[in-house]
Symmetry: C2
Subunit: 205 residues, 2 copies
Amino acid sequence: MNQPILAPSVRGPVDHDIRDQIVAAANEHFSQYGYGKTTVSDLAKAIGFSKAYIYKFFDSKQAIGEAICKNCLAQIVAAVEKAINVDGISPTERFRRLVKTLVTTGADLFFNDRKLYDIAAFAASERWSSTEVYNAQIKDFVLQIIREGRELGEFERRTPLDETVDSIHLALRPFVNPLLLQYNLDLIEDAPTLTSNLILRSLMP
Amino acid sequence: MNQPILAPSVRGPVDHDIRDQIVAAANEHFSQYGYGKTTVSDLAKAIGFSKAYIYKFFDSKQAIGEAICKNCLAQIVAAVEKAINVDGISPTERFRRLVKTLVTTGADLFFNDRKLYDIAAFAASERWSSTEVYNAQIKDFVLQIIREGRELGEFERRTPLDETVDSIHLALRPFVNPLLLQYNLDLIEDAPTLTSNLILRSLMP
């Protein structure tokens, strides 16, 4: 509605850059002052844009938070992908890497940068689409590993595939979900191995 | 320090009754107005005792909260005990009952009475001794069931007993810990069965 009618073709790439700029600046600002306490006005002042200008690109503070959250979760997914998509490792090893990477990357991202944590918390508690996408991606990693393990005869095949995947995803939730991870930080040392072992025992043929 | 020097023998039972009275009244008051927002002065006013009198029995608001929390958790433990200590059921069935009772009683107690939830949240986040005792009791139930199952040949014996118990207790945490349970309320329908099944598969000989 606010876009210049005469130059629609310019909108794409330029807007994309400005969006990125706002997200980066907001990320920086939230890291320092926290997401919950910052208003769009504060943000506009800090970035040096007008509030109205920011509202051209984002409907709300939440929309900016969503974009930051999406970036964060994409980093976790990328780290997991890199850790598990290695040739010549067994499904068992792939699964262990999945769990370990989820925990360490998640903890690093959210808790070394504690001020960003409340964005993740908002995101998880309000079921932002970014966290739903993230959950689906993690579940898909689990599905791929279980499928491969079943095909290779490394994992049991009696349990319906969807039950196996659902129950594993559920068991991993304390590490996948940033809201739950905060209560598990003191367990980060031992929990991934204990949980991986338990799940792998449940997969034995 | 405040007790009458000449009548120490009276202190026990009478003080006990008054403590119970304060806990019951505080429970009622917190249920209505919340734990976080209530001060000891508010409480004193509501109960009709002086603040100084309450402080004779409890060092702080937290001490009153602890007493309420202890009662709550004792109710969960009692419900679990009743559900699992039934003659003639298998360790597998005992385990299913443990999980189901933990979830349903926990959810009932803490979430039908949402205002009391913040006490439980404080308790779990600050590791009050009542929650530590509760955790130890739940872990002991798990230990007993696993031992029985191993003796009867129903569960595998390759994994060290303490690892089995630790990993199961960890897998149950989202349902045992009230702080985590709040994020799992929408899963209460299916999660207990899925989690029980996964754990029981991991226990297969």
